[in-house]
Every structure is written in C-alpha cells, then in structure tokens.
C-alpha cells in the first residue's frame, strides 16, 4: 500500500509531463519551423540546422502582414476600450439605481447572449453594405462594441460594492458620472482586468465577422490574412508557420503576464468573452 502511494507521486507528474509535451508539440514545431529555410523545412529534426530570421524579414517586407497586425491591434484595442466603458457603465446602472423598466432592460440585455452570431452576421452584412461600412474599421468593430456577457459580469461585481461608499461621494457633491468612474470603478479592478483581457483576446482571435466584412487585403485582420496566406505564398509552409507564430505571440505574452487573472476569470465566469 505504501509503495503504491509513493509510486503514484511519481507517476502523476510523469504522465502529466508526457501528455503536456504532446499538447505543446504543435507550438514547438510551429516556432522551430519559422526559423528554418530550404531543405531544413523538410527535415524531421526540431532544431534548425541553419537558424535564420529571414522568414520574419520576408513577412515584414513582402507581405501585408504588418497591415494585418496593425489592423488587429487597432480593432482589438478600440473594441476593448468600448466594452470596458459601456459594459461597466451599464452594469453599474443596473446594479446601483432604482428606476422603472430596470428589470426588463436587464433581462433583454441578458437574452442577447442566447442569439448566435451566425444568425446576426447576415443582417449585419446587409447593413454594412447599405451604409458603406464594408472595408472600414468601424465595420469590423461595431458588432462587438458592447456585450451582454460583460454587462452581466460587471453587474455582479458592482452589486458587491457597498452603497455607503457611493453615498459618501454624493454628500461631497460629486455627480453620478464621477461616482461611477472615480469611486465605483477602482473597487472592481479585478473584474475590469478580466474583462479587458477576455475582450482583447476574443477580438484578436475573432474570425467569422472580420472575414465577412473585409474584402480589401489591407483591411484584413490577422486571422483573416492568415487564412489566405498559404495561397499567397504558394504553399511555403515555413512562411505559414512564421505567420502563425506572429499571430500567437501577443496572446502568449498576455498569458504569461496575466496568467492568474485569466485562469481565475475563466473559472469565475466560465466563458471566454
């Protein structure tokens, strides 16, 4: 019995490590291949014989990759800022004020989480077509400017903020906008950081809508550009792997910095974004 117990102490980490290596295998190959060229690409050894950053240079100079990267950044940051502002404002309003219609508004916003995006993209596209939003940043961004999920999340957190603190501000003569932005917001920072991270990662990885609403190559976001990349580079797989590496690096960096918040946030809410 005792031997059995000690054995399992070694077996668990060993199995987790082996299986974990299998999980990382595609990433490792992706990164390794992004530093390979020529015959090296077809070599079954992980380490490049002649490591080179030429693929990255080619990506910068001979492709629209810099555009896509910039577009993804612009869209990701703008949408995240909007979500941060509106979802927390609406969440705050729905938790801290009493007014007729409050319950109905909350339920309606909540119910939007049940509408699948697939159902909305066709009307969104028709709308964008008629209003000239195709191939614009606004066109890529407008569907995500607010989210039922973020509003729900923020409402839950604002409900835990004591009213006394807000009333203290009112006695000092602050208006309600200040009470929200200067008193309430700093008290829910953990929730805000979770919202920012999910929103940015979600938008960075978003594929279907940006694919539909952008026709011009220079308006693609990173995932859309990447999905047409193989054709553009005539099946040069090392270039595809280089592109995939660049698309994953920002998320890796964010994950390393915010690992705790991301994992806690997922566990807390159970939803990606």
């Amino acid at each position: 019995m005792k031997n059995n117990r000690t054995a399992i102490h070694y077996v668990r980490p060993l199995v987790l490590t082996l299986f974990g290596m299998a999980m990382l295998f595609p990433f490792i190959w992706m990164f390794a291949t992004s530093f390979k060229q020529g015959a090296d690409v077809f070599n079954l050894s992980l380490m490049p014989k002649h490591p080179t950053v030429l693929n990255y240079a080619k990506l910068l100079r001979n492709s629209n990759f810099p555009w896509w990267f910039a577009n993804s950044m612009i869209v990701g940051l703008a949408v995240t800022f909007s979500v941060l502002f509106f979802d927390s404002l609406v969440g705050f309003t729905l938790s801290k004020y009493r007014f007729p219609g409050k319950r109905l508004i909350f339920l309606l916003i909540l119910s939007t989480m049940m509408i699948p995006t697939e159902m909305l993209v066709i009307p969104w596209y028709i709308m964008s077509n008629e209003l000239g939003w195709v191939d614009t940043y606004w066109g890529v961004m407008f569907p995500g400017l607010m989210s039922g999920f973020g509003t729900f999340l923020m409402r839950q957190f604002f409900c835990q903020v004591p009213d006394d603190l807000l009333d203290a501000g009112r006695i000092d003569g602050l208006n309600e906008f200040y009470i929200w932005s200067r008193i309430a917001m700093p008290l829910v920072l953990p929730a805000l950081s979770a919202l920012v991270i999910f929103s940015f990662i979600g938008n960075w990885n978003a594929f279907m809508w940006p694919l539909i609403v952008s026709n011009k190559v220079t308006m693609y976001t990173l995932p859309v550009g990447l999905s047409f990349f193989n054709g553009e580079f005539q099946s040069q797989w090392e270039m595809v792997m280089t592109g995939a590496s660049v698309a994953t690096i920002p998320v890796f960096i964010m994950f390393i910095i915010f690992q705790k918040q991301i994992i806690q946030g997922i566990a807390l809410t159970g939803v990606k974004g």
Binding site: V90, Y97, F207
Partner: protein, 301 residues
C-alpha cells in the same frame, strides 16, 4: 422633516435621470445591433432575396420546406452532430482526468495549468494551419514523416473521406481540453475536504472517493460544461474552413458543418433568404438546449 423628504425625493429623481442618461446609447446599440438584426433574420428567412435584386419577395415557409429536401443540409447537420457526439465527450473526459491529476500533485500546478490551457486561448486560425501542416503527406507533414521513420503505413488524414473529420476533431479537442480542465479544477477545488475525510473514515479508497464524492458533487459543473460545450461544438466553423481544401468542408463535404454551409450559402452563393432559414434552425436548436439547461438547474435547486 418635510424638507428632508422632498430633498431625498429630488435626489432620487436626479439619480433616476442619470440612470436613463447612462442607458440611452447602450439601449440604442442593443436595439439596432442585436434585436433588429434578429427579427430581420427571421424576416429574411421568408424571402428569396439574393442581395443583387431590388425586391425581397415573400415566399412564406418555402425556404424551410426546401431545407427538408436538401440532402446537403441533412449531411451538414449530421456532420455537426458528429462533432458534438465525438468531440464533446472526449474533451470532457480528458479535461476531467487532467484536472483531477493536476489537483493531486504537490509541485508545478501552475505550470501544468498553463501548458494545458494555452491552446484554448490561441487563435483558432493559426492552430488550424499548424495542424493542417502536421497532417500533410510526406515529405511535408510531420506526422507522416514520423510514421515513415517508424516504418508504419502512411495516412491520408485530411485528404481521406473517413479520416478527415476525425483529424479536425483531434485539433478541436486539443484546443478545447484547457477550458474543460480549468472549469473542472475550479469545481474540484470547491469541494470541501470534510467530504473526503468522512469518506476516508468509512474506508473508501481513491477510486470510491472519486465515484461517490467527487463526481456526484461535480454534477452542476458537468451540466454547465455539457451545455456550453454542446453549443460550442454546434457552432464549429473556423477550423473546418481553414483545414479543408479551399475551405469547402471536403473531401466531398465529409467535414462540412452546418455553420460552414450557412456561410457558403450566404457569402459564396449570396442566397440570403435560404441561409437565414438555416440560421433560424440553428437558433432554435441552441434555444432548446439553453432552456433544457435552465430546467435542469432549477430542478437541482
């Protein structure tokens, strides 16, 4: 006394005015960008509109009637069912096994969590292309080169009518395990140690504790994961578009899920009415699942 009352009354009114002010833009957004498009999709599903012609002709339920006799619709619905039926149980099982073991190691919990979780937050387009490359025939594809080294027969993977859907499923499960694992781990950590202590006093071993303590107490977690997972697998799209030749869901539609068929119909053939009818079907399926979840959770309470 009276003055105080009117003062607090006017404060209430001011607050109410602020509340409505805060909500003006968001309400406008939800009406124009969420509710109006939802109703518009229902409306479009009763027309034969093809985006080019000026008028949207009302054809009643004809799109729905056509769906019934559309072999490709049933084929893609069946494929979607396969993604759910094979993908979800496997990723749930693996997610649980990993979470259970991570909970029971002494060292490196954070490290293992990171390793298993990172595929979930990575761009699906990027990982789809990485896997597509791994699956290529030799001398390009890594898997086939490894098989060659081991002197095992070469596999067609994405080029085979029977293997392609499972190849895409492997990628999907690989990317999905991390989510299941994190939620399971949170559930496992939420179980009070008292239950295990009591079970140990009763002489229950590891296996019995898992069967009679851990799993029953994880029931709400499991219900949540089954529902959200079903919806996620029902909406499979990105990986199939990026892993099949020219994004067609081939070979011979063997991997094409419903959402890819919707996308093709709407944005490659521009048959907006017919595509909308399919999105309504998808909406109704998801709605049913959500309502069942609410029912189950209510009966739990």
């Amino acid at each position: 006394m009276i003055r105080q009352k009117t003062a607090s009354h006017s404060l209430e009114l001011t607050k109410r005015r602020w509340a409505y002010t805060f909500l003006v833009v968001p309400i406008l957004f939800y009406v124009v960008i969420r509710f109006y498009p939802t109703f518009y999709a229902f409306f479009l599903s009763t027309t034969d509109w093809d985006i080019v012609s000026k008028n949207k002709d009302f054809i009643g339920l004809e799109n729905y009637r056509n769906l019934f006799s559309d072999a490709l619709f049933w084929k893609t619905l069946g494929n979607t069912g396969k993604y759910v039926a094979y993908g979800l149980p496997v990723s749930l099982f693996l997610g649980f096994v990993i979470a259970y073991n991570i909970d029971r190691i002494r060292l490196g919990e954070g490290f293992f969590k990171a390793v298993y979780f990172i595929p979930y937050i990575t761009s699906m387009v990027a990982v789809a292309w990485v896997w597509r490359w791994l699956y290529q025939p030799a001398p390009i594809g890594v898997f086939n080169k490894i098989l060659m080294e081991l002197e095992l027969p070469q596999q067609k993977f994405l080029f085979s009518q029977t293997q392609a859907i499972f190849s895409i499923l492997a990628t999907t499960i690989w990317a999905d395990i991390g989510f299941q694992m994190i939620i399971f781990l949170a559930g496992i950590k939420g179980i009070s140690t008292q239950y295990y202590e009591a079970a140990e006093i009763d002489g229950a071993g590891n296996w019995d504790q898992l069967r009679y303590v851990t799993l029953p107490l994880l029931k709400p977690t499991i219900v949540f994961l089954i529902v959200t997972g079903t919806i996620r697998y029902l909406r499979i799209f990105t990986q199939v578009l990026n892993m099949s030749y020219q994004g067609e869901g081939g070979p011979l539609n063997s991997t094409k899920p419903l959402v890819l068929y919707i996308y093709d119909t709407a944005f490659r053939s521009f048959d907006m009415g017919y595509a909308s009818a399919m999105t309504v079907v998808l909406f109704l399926i998801i709605l049913t699942i959500t309502l069942i979840q609410l029912r189950v959770m209510k009966s739990e309470e």
